[in-house]
């Protein structure tokens, strides 16, 4: 296990620390344009009012179905995609007020590992150039130091220094993701947003990369925001889990609490939908839901899950539940017990 804050002192709750990142009422709307004069006819509410704190040293996982706004949240946090509304406070600094060179300097402290290791590396540059570029740009190393750092980082992520003269297309998916990790790591950041770092990889490689991420966290005291939809990986790597549905967080708590005693019906459904390899352990009475995720362009009123929730009552259609609770919070009018 990584040396997260949780383990250093089991009694201390993580919430007593000062958060590394604080997200307040984050919203990201994408306009829907129509017609020849391309007027805006509506918005896709990818992220719709999200509050979250990420504490130093922890791995916080963000889980949910495809299209629920996980990746958008991740990109908004590191301001690759500026949010429509809301604040992201990184080390006490409000990112919406930071621009230009100041923002570029902050990128040394917050990095992102992208989902697709095939498309996220520039095919025209050697791996060494790709890795050294951030060091040179931020004037963190001269040419010779940069080469040495590249060699070191390649060894750290399990490649060899000879790999730096090759081009990305000469590597396998797992190796390319290691390069992506090395790229994020080389600036020695505090926060790494891992945007589904293993979902494009083979299962056998997934475990390797997850272990690598864990080891690196212990070695460099990293904080991860781990975005995923594979619950196995999430259970393995996270300290806390946040469940997202249609751009909102519906449940947030420690990993074991979420996995053992889910409070939100959606979390339960999500856990149920994860296949269990051992047939004797399979729960016969599964909670299943019908239908698809409603369109984020026109989310349902009240609790956005009420259209698919088997326990929905009248109030769920009218009133949006708040995320309540101290260590294990849930946004539901009738939480499961």
């Amino acid at each position: 296990m990584s040396k997260s804050i949780l383990e250093i002192d089991k009694n201390a709750t993580i919430e007593t620390l000062a958060p590394l990142v604080e997200i307040q009422n984050l919203k990201k709307y994408y306009p829907i344009k129509k017609g020849i004069i391309s007027h805006t006819v509506g918005h896709v509410k990818a992220v719709d009012g999200l509050d979250l704190k990420i504490y130093p040293g922890e791995t916080l996982s963000l889980v949910g179905e495809s299209g629920c706004g996980k990746s958008t949240t991740g990109r908004a946090i590191v301001k690759l995609d500026p949010p429509t509304e809301g604040k992201v406070i990184f080390e006490g600094q409000n990112l919406s007020e930071v621009n230009g060179s100041e923002l570029r300097n902050l990128r040394t402290k917050m990095q992102i590992i992208f989902q697709d290791p095939y498309s996220s590396l520039n095919p025209g540059k050697r791996v060494g150039e790709l890795l050294a570029e951030p060091l040179i740009t931020h004037k963190l190393a001269n040419h010779n130091d940069a080469i040495k750092k590249v060699d070191d980082i390649l060894e750290i992520v399990g490649l060899t220094k000879h790999h730096k003269n090759r081009y990305p297309h000469e590597f396998s998916g797992g190796q390319r993701q290691r390069i992506g990790i090395a790229r994020a790591l080389i600036l020695n950041p505090k926060l790494i947003v891992c945007d589904e770092p293993v979902s494009a990889l083979d299962v056998s490689i997934q475990a390797q990369v997850l272990n690598l991420l864990k080891d690196l966290q212990a070695q460099f005291q990293l904080t991860y925001l781990f975005i995923a939809h594979g619950l196995g990986a999430v259970k393995y790597i996270s300290d806390r889990v946040a469940v997202m549905y249609l751009g909102k967080i519906v449940e947030l708590g420690k990993t074991e609490d979420i996995f053992k005693t889910p409070k939100h019906p959606y979390t339960k459904v999500l856990l149920n939908s994860y296949p269990i390899p051992n047939p004797h352990l399979r729960n016969r009475e599964r909670l299943v839901i019908q239908g698809d995720v409603p369109s984020p362009a026109n989310p349902p009123s009240g609790c956005s899950f009420h259209t698919r929730c088997p326990f929905a009552k009248a109030i769920c259609r009218e009133k949006t539940p708040d995320l309540v609770g101290n260590h294990h919070s849930v946004a539901c009018h009738f939480p499961l017990t």
């Binding site: 391309s38 990109r75 690759l80 992208f114 590396l121 520039n122 095919p123 951030p134 297309h169």
Partner: protein, 316 residues
């Protein structure tokens, strides 16, 4: 790589032979012949036949072709049927002005088109984008003879600040500034056309690359937007652009027939028109032969430059 180049050159030989056969057939089978074109109206049928016999024009086509090919292999391009000058001499005299005009036009066109195409792509659907795409559309669609006559009217006739044609003012041969003045209008007309299409190619090629994930990676590194666009994006957008440039190289030699004619530019384009009019077979064959060589060569050059632009492309 070296092997690849050698192989390509070896393949080019039969291609070149095929091209000369086609050219030969087309030129020699066109109605009329050099003697008919330049004959004195008083000449008798007998005189004409004697002349034709002397030039070998009465021999079967294939014999004429192999005679031409044999001479070429000895480096002998023959003698012009109209001026009796050696063809090689005529061509070397004309190639300089054409190379000058076309290379300046190409460079000007690319210097304008590539930055504009990049800006147009990075600011897609903005007013800048609409403005530049409209202008590139105009550049492509206005025929050079029309644009040529238009600028000639404005700058040479009305404003009287630029010469109407030629490469030098008479009696003032070789002055640099003088030649520059004569270059302005034809270069403008030619580069408008070349730049017009180039802007569109650069724009669409850049747009494709700008949507790629690795540019988000580059931004995540904290690179300036300028570096992201010009170092990471442009490099990967170069492949289609190199293809277009490769196709443009042959016009360095081919010249712009119409534009040279309008501005009385003493280049190969003008020579081509004159030689077609006088059915000057040997000159036409030499022009086509050199054009074919340049086309083959620039194709090879294009393929080599692909490997420079994209390391994933390898030949072996």
């Amino acid at each position: 790589m070296f092997q690849y180049i050698v192989r390509r050159i070896l393949i080019a030989i039969p291609v070149l032979l095929g091209v000369t056969i086609f050219n030969f057939l087309i030129i020699y089978m066109a109605p009329g012949n050099p003697v008919d074109m330049y004959i004195n109206p008083d000449a008798t049928e007998e005189d004409i036949q004697i002349k034709k016999e002397a030039l070998g024009l009465n021999d079967p086509l294939y014999i004429q072709y192999f005679r031409w090919l044999g001479n070429i292999l000895h480096g002998d391009f023959g003698i012009s049927y109209t001026t009796y000058e050696p063809v090689l001499h005529i061509i070397t005299e004309r190639i300089g002005p054409t190379l000058l005009l076309m290379s300046v036009s190409l460079v000007v066109a690319y210097l304008i088109a590539i930055p504009i195409g990049i800006i147009s792509a990075t600011k897609q659907y903005s007013w800048t984008d609409y403005f530049t795409t409209t202008f590139s559309f105009l550049g492509v669609s206005i025929p050079p003879f029309f644009l040529g006559l238009g600028v000639m009217y404005v700058f040479a006739v009305v404003l009287q600040i630029l010469p109407t044609g030629g490469m030098n003012t008479l009696g003032n041969e070789g002055g640099f500034l003088d030649t520059l003045f004569h270059l302005i209008m034809p270069v403008f007309v030619l580069s408008m056309g070349i730049a017009g299409s180039m802007v569109r190619y650069v724009r669409s090629s850049m747009l494709e690359v700008l949507g790629q994930d690795y540019l988000r990676t580059a931004r995540a590194k904290g690179l300036r937007e300028f570096v992201v666009t010009n170092k990471h994006a442009l490099r990967n957008a170069l492949i289609p652009i190199i293809t277009i440039i490769g196709m443009d190289i042959p016009i360095l030699i081919g010249g712009a027939v119409v534009t040279e004619q309008i501005f009385q530019w003493p280049g190969l384009g003008q020579l081509t028109i004159q030689s077609i009019g006088s059915r000057d077979y040997s000159v036409l064959m030499a022009i086509n032969f050199s054009a074919a060589i340049v086309v083959l060569f620039s194709n090879l050059l294009t393929d080599i430059f692909y490997t420079v632009a994209d390391p994933r492309i390898k030949y072996n």
